[in-house]
């Protein structure tokens, strides 16, 4: 067969190369999204599906736990992303121009927790924090301090989960920042040095503005990751105490797999998808504009 369209002929190889990924994308991403949207309008039972319109959404909006899940998720996103960006900027700007071995050591130390599975990390934290036989509670008792249940206190459980997630994930942001900072042209620093700029000025006037695309990228991927925060909640708190640490993803999971309310779970999924989309569009636009 001879291809008549020269434009198509020119790009055929390119299209063939992206074909596998496109097919997988359609099959595993686009199709589930469409199916999720469809299911959110149905009541799903083992033997039948019944169209119920917006009933699942109205059930969600009349459930106080759903709003608690939204609130908690927002708190997690804001604090974990802020902490990650600020802390990784601090570490990266402090070490990026030091000797290569030292930089590698810092990078490695912060990256180890990222490589360990979140499940394993959560189990270790659970061992430390368990109020009955955990190491932290045990030490507190040995020191004659009162019993502190960090996971059983409504005010403390969110900060604890924020800290655990932040500590586990910050390594990736540090790696990205260091790589990006090493790529900043050296002549800018030399010029700043000649002009007598202080280290702080160099960081705030040169480094941070020049790594802005990295900041945007880190912010987006962390927002998306934290919106889906689940493992820590499942392993550490089970959403407790009394739903104080329940997140959207955990709420979705409970509805889908524990209560078998697939319609409601799909409605939560659709809402999360819309939120993620709304948050990502302006950021992606900014990223592409900069490039």
């Amino acid at each position: 067969m001879k291809l008549r369209n020269p434009y198509l002929k020119e790009n055929l190889t390119g299209y063939l190369f992206i074909l596998p990924q496109t097919l997988l994308f359609l099959l595993f991403i686009v199709y589930p999204i469409i199916e999720g949207i469809r299911l959110s309008f149905y009541k799903v039972q083992f033997q039948k599906e019944t169209f119920v319109g917006f009933d699942n959404y109205s059930a969600l909006f009349s459930d106080p736990i759903f709003f608690k899940a939204v609130g908690n998720t927002v708190v997690f996103v804001v604090f974990i992303v802020l902490l990650t960006v600020i802390f990784s900027l601090f570490v990266a700007s402090a070490v990026f121009d030091k000797n290569a071995k030292y930089v590698s050591f810092i990078r490695g130390s912060y990256y180890i927790p990222v490589m360990v599975s979140m499940v394993v990390m959560s189990m270790i934290w659970s061992f430390l924090l368990n109020p009955a036989n955990g190491l932290i509670s045990f030490t507190a008792r040995q020191l004659d301090l009162s019993t502190v249940n960090l996971l059983g206190d409504k005010k403390l459980v969110l900060p604890v989960v924020i800290f655990v997630t932040f500590a586990t994930n910050v390594g990736q942001a540090i790696i990205l920042y260091i790589a990006s900072m090493i790529g900043v042209p050296k002549d800018l620093f030399e010029a700043a040095e000649v002009d007598g700029a202080s280290r702080l000025k160099v960081i705030f006037r040169i480094l941070i503005p020049l790594v802005k695309p990295t900041t945007i990228y880190i912010t987006i991927i962390n927002i998306i990751a934290v919106l889906k925060i689940f493992v820590v909640i499942q392993m550490l708190t089970g959403g407790g105490p009394n739903n104080a640490s329940v997140t959207l993803m955990y709420y979705l999971y409970n509805n889908a797999f524990k209560y078998n309310q697939l319609g409601i779970a799909s409605a939560v999924g659709v809402i999360m998808f819309v939120i993620t989309l709304l948050l990502s569009v302006p950021q992606l636009r900014a990223l592409f504009k900069d490039k």
């Binding site: 190889t13 190369f17 097919l23 083992f46 009955a132 045990f138």
Partner: protein, 470 residues
């Protein structure tokens, strides 16, 4: 140039086709391979079924066997079944799944159209699947011999609507376990029962025991030890929490199957629990401690009184004998109540068959369930908990004196599920309320009231959706 590009494109296409083939290859589950193809050797159709179970007892018949594990019995039974089975060339895959992951795994597989063929588990946790129409009735595999050997009470327990959905194998009565060494160390010798006894204390006596354990237990010998286990992290072990809520005489369900916990006695029980917790008679942090944690603490001698059932009790004893856990004198007691009569409940354990849409697999699954639930040798494995068959009990009663004690207890059995639909979801409602009560967010009266309101809503919704009521 084009030639070169086409040359590059060929591997890309091949890769795509390969990947897609890989995907579709994985789609088929055991069932699809199962139907049809005749096996060359025996000339019979090949049928492959999957059997899932949650951890019950270790070993085929005894936990002292070498390589004893939770799947040993079913592997042995499958082997024996396959050797004598003449209808098909059967293959049985056995898989143990975690109890707290049961509903997640089943829901995912039911929605994906790949349920297991056979599931062996406590009936109370599986009743919802009968209500949802996911199980096959087993009336046709229950014969008169089985009906006369297994008491009617057990058949009532596994009958939903008009049909039998589970083949009773054994039962697991829930009681308390206590560390008799710790009791003696706290000067509680007079409260220690016999080795083959399920000791019954009055509620006043039980309160005295907790007081003595809190104040008199030597700290040098038992550091970081607490009198009683209390947990509310999730729904695991919640039946004991349900039993505690009945201690002051509340009957929990009314005749229509609605929760009626919110009365004077229900609130008193909740207050009793909260006061125990607040006054330090239990392990700290009950709101974030699971029953597994509590059991581990009991085995570690950090708790003097905990929950147990025959399987947990026998496993604990076996671990102590094998040197895997510290040795101590562990004994059984009843959950006390204000009336003086003990509170006791039992989990009937048995197999159910899921609807897979494949007649051959369903046939083999039913044949396998009937085989291992009635084979004279295999049913002896029920001695690891409490057998439901009178023939097995009479065979082993001299060897296991506790069988008689459990039998005596059965006069005080209460039905903790009330046979209500939606029981699985109902279990998800209790522990958040207990957590709220333990952390002081709600008073016991508020927690009880909210549990009743939310619980009845769940039951009402499930009743409307149940296929058995239509």
């Amino acid at each position: 140039m084009l030639k070169k590009r086409l040359f590059a494109a060929v591997p890309a296409v091949a890769l795509t086709v390969g990947l897609l083939a890989g995907c579709s290859g994985n789609n088929g589950n055991s069932g699809e391979e199962a139907s049809g193809s005749a096996s060359a050797g025996a000339g019979k159709d090949k049928v492959e079924i999957s059997v899932w179970l949650t951890p019950q007892w270790k070993g085929a018949f005894d936990s002292t066997e070498s390589d004893a594990d939770y799947d040993s019995f079913f592997k042995y039974a499958a082997d024996k079944f396959v050797k004598q089975y003449d209808k098909y060339d059967a293959k049985i895959n056995v898989q143990v799944i975690a109890g707290d992951q049961r509903d997640e795994l089943l829901n995912v597989n039911l929605n994906g159209g790949t349920p297991p063929d056979v599931f062996f588990e406590s009936v109370f946790a599986m009743g919802d699947y009968a209500h949802r129409g996911a199980l096959v009735p087993l009336n046709d595999i229950v014969d008169d011999a089985a009906k006369s050997d297994i008491a009617q009470g057990y058949w009532d327990n596994v009958t939903f609507g008009n049909d039998i959905y589970f083949y009773p194998f054994s039962n697991n009565p829930g009681t308390l376990a206590y560390n008799a060494d710790m009791f003696r160390a706290a000067g509680l010798d007079s409260f220690v029962g016999g080795e083959s006894e399920i000791k019954t204390w009055t509620l006043d006596e039980y309160n005295q025991i907790l007081e003595a354990l809190k104040t008199k237990l030597p700290k040098d010998k038992y550091s970081n030890a607490y009198p009683m286990a209390l947990y509310a992290l999730n729904n695991q072990g919640d039946t004991w929490n349900l039993a505690y809520l009945r201690m002051f005489g509340n009957k929990f369900f009314d005749d229509q199957g609605n929760i009626v916990l919110d009365d004077e006695n229900g609130v008193k029980a909740a207050e009793w629990l909260r006061n125990l917790y607040k006054s330090g008679y239990t392990n700290p942090g009950a709101e974030s401690v699971s029953s597994n944690d509590a059991n581990a603490m009991f085995l570690n001698q950090q708790l003097a009184v905990s929950f147990t059932n025959p399987v947990l009790f026998n496993n604990a004893k076996a671990d102590m004998a094998a040197g895997k856990a510290p040795k101590f004198d562990v004994r059984l007691a009843n959950i006390p109540s204000v009336s003086g009569d003990p509170l006791t409940f039992t989990y009937v354990v048995g197999a159910s068959v899921f609807k897979t849409g494949d007649d051959k697999r369903t046939e083999v699954a039913k044949d396998f369930v009937k085989f291992f639930s009635s084979d004279p040798e295999l049913v002896k494995a029920s001695k690891n908990s409490i057998p439901v068959r009178s023939s097995v009990i009479s065979e082993f009663k001299d060897q296991f004196p506790l069988f008689e004690a459990y039998d005596k207890n059965s006069a005080h059995l209460f039905s903790f599920t009330g046979n209500v639909p939606g029981y699985s979801e109902l279990r998800q409602v209790l522990y958040p309320e207990l957590q709220a009560m333990y952390i002081g967010e709600k008073t016991p009266a508020e927690a009880v009231k909210d549990y009743q309101a939310k619980g009845n809503e769940v039951i009402q919704k499930a009743r409307q959706n149940s296929v058995l009521n239509k």
